[in-house]
């Protein structure tokens, strides 16, 4: 019923999906996790096929790199499409810990404790 995946998809050059944009408005790094804002919601009808595939994958929490690898989409394209989904309130962008702010020191400590648990 919602199988409106179009044949011509394979012929579209990747950046056509993004309207030529190569920068996302959200701080999306390769390790940034994304998940559906509401897991029960079916994707809106007007989503592009690539965006719909991303949305479906995000039923589970996944990183930008994992989504890009799984859908064989260029990283930059994946970032822009995820950014658009976030703008529409469809996906949630999880916090990314970069260690650049002192407020993240506690998370770094948790990371170390996690490693010590795994590799003792």
């Amino acid at each position: 019923m919602r199988s409106h995946r179009r044949r011509r998809r394979a012929r579209i050059r990747p950046y056509t999906f993004t309207g030529g944009r190569t920068r996302s408005r959200h701080p999306l790094m390769v390790q940034t996790l994304v998940s559906r804002a509401d897991e029960r919601v079916e994707p809106p009808r007007n989503l592009m096929p690539e965006s719909e595939r991303i949305y479906r994958l995000c039923a589970q929490v996944r990183s930008v790199a994992e989504i890009s690898a799984e859908l064989k989409l260029p990283l930059g394209v994946t970032q822009v499409l995820i950014s658009d989904l976030a703008d529409q309130g469809l996906v949630y962008i999880h916090p990314t810990i970069t260690g650049h702010s002192p407020s993240e020191n506690q998370v770094l400590e948790r990371a170390l404790r996690g490693l010590e648990r795994l590799f003792q």
């Binding site: 990183s63 790199a65 993240e104």
Partner: protein
């Protein structure tokens, strides 16, 4: 930042990243594979970068698109924290595209083959210039022993006394995990130092 959707139902899982760098064939993928909870994903990532550093592509002034092999693995550190390990493309000609992979990393491991020390110079130069990403040198002892002491290696690769140097066997899970622990301790000590300076 983040999203306009705030959900209380979902545990707020956060992620972080370390980068595994070094020359071609020094054991980066082996290291990732030894510690990762998933088989390392090797993907052909198409990277797009501004070509400011490249003068030989003047015909396309804005962007360069190149396909590079990117390896990554994953570790769930606790219920709310996932760490990714990204292996960088080994070839020096891909250096200008590293920034995308390296941005936001809490630390980096430069894997070194003691028999081919020069292969790691590019990686060390990169992180020396970056300044903001703590890195350590991990010497992969391929056949179980090293012909040089770690201090000799430190002198040869010309890194300061603050940069940790450890030896390990990239095929060994615990030894590879130990490299990650050493990196995290170093990252934490640097972060605390910065905090003290700011106070």
């Amino acid at each position: 930042m983040a999203s306009n959707v705030s959900s209380n139902k979902r545990p707020s899982v956060a992620s972080t990243k370390i980068v595994i760098a070094g020359g071609f064939g020094v054991g980066k993928t082996t290291l990732v594979g030894s510690v990762s909870e998933i088989p390392p994903v090797t993907t052909e990532a198409v990277m797009t970068e501004a070509s400011v550093a490249h003068d030989d592509v003047s015909a396309t002034p804005d962007k360069v698109t190149t396909t590079v092999a990117m390896d990554f693995g994953r570790l769930t550190l606790d219920d709310e924290l996932i760490m990714y390990m990204f292996g960088t493309p080994g070839q020096a000609r891909f250096w200008f595209m590293w920034d995308d992979l390296v941005r936001g990393a809490i630390g980096a491991v430069v894997v070194v083959d003691a028999r081919r020390l020069a292969d790691c110079f590019d990686a060390i130069d990169y992180f020396e210039k970056k300044q903001d990403i703590p890195y350590l040198i991990a010497v992969n002892k391929f056949d179980g022993k090293l012909d040089y002491t770690l201090e000799q290696i430190r002198e040869a690769v010309e890194v300061g006394p603050e940069v940790p140097i450890v030896e390990f066997d990239a095929r060994d899970r615990l030894e590879s995990g130990n490299v990650l622990k050493t990196l995290l301790r170093y990252t934490l000590s640097r972060a605390r130092e910065r905090q003290r300076e700011a106070d």
